[in-house]
Subunit: 152 residues, 2 copies
């Protein structure tokens, strides 16, 4: 389980999609504006999300992205896994050859931790996040915002 800002961007973007789940396709430009993420970077992230089967895309005018399944069926862990193709927290990638030909001293520790983190994030769906008061509060503020100018 690798946790970087990349994964955080992805979860934020997916949460934005979840907030507009029943309102038709959402363009990346909208997400970029609302969440303050560069459009081109979003394009990269969504390419992976699409390959991971988490979102559906609609081309052409009026197009955009939609969640492939309802928010209650998508967990945070799935999003992060789709973004970071390498998932293991261990040094050896599960090969247990971290140290020469043998497992390193702390191999088991990182494996345990990895499982814990995964379980935590797997227990949280987008629907869970949407229902949080804090999220709704921030979201409503974003709706009423003056659109900023978007580069490219």
């Amino acid at each position: 389980m690798k946790l970087t800002t990349k994964g955080r961007y992805a979860v934020t973007a997916m949460l934005d999609l979840a907030l507009h789940f029943d309102k038709g396709a959402v363009t990346l430009a909208d997400i970029a504006r609302r969440q303050g993420i560069s459009l081109s970077y979003l394009e990269q992230l969504f390419a992976k999300l699409r390959r991971g089967g988490l979102v559906d895309s609609v081309r052409g005018p009026g197009g955009g992205y939609n969640l492939a399944v309802p928010p209650s069926k998508i967990t945070v862990a799935e999003i992060i896994v789709a973004i970071n193709e390498n998932i293991d927290a261990t040094r050896c990638g599960g090969e247990k050859n971290c140290h020469g030909d043998q497992a390193c001293l702390t191999h088991q520790l990182w494996e345990d931790l990895s499982v814990r983190i995964y379980e935590f994030l797997h227990g949280i769906t987008l629907a869970d996040l949407v229902s949080k008061p804090q999220v709704q509060q921030v979201a409503s503020r974003q709706e009423s915002r003056v659109p900023a100018t978007i580069t490219r």
Copy 2:
């Protein structure tokens, strides 16, 4: 809570110290040989561990490093915190200004996760790790090893 290979190196090295807790000072050269970590890199890590008060150093011949307190008093979380001076998993460093002037949508999520990871790692001491059969098994193999040549 930032989890990188850097932190893993540090925990592995500290575990090595814990395994030799009652046997006098341990040189970095020994750790480098046993754990397959570059000596110069260990020097950097132990400078931080020393500043963090986790280890004591003894200079001169016969010198080396010792745990500053018994293994049962040192948690994995402390080690990682000492190594990565920045601890927060959130984008804004607790400032809650992740997105312009307001907290980003997922601020709370990362804060929660951060706490979870910290609690997990704070619940594991070096003594816990030492008592694990797997660790002892790997450790005993390392003791009987032919010393490899060390560069510089």
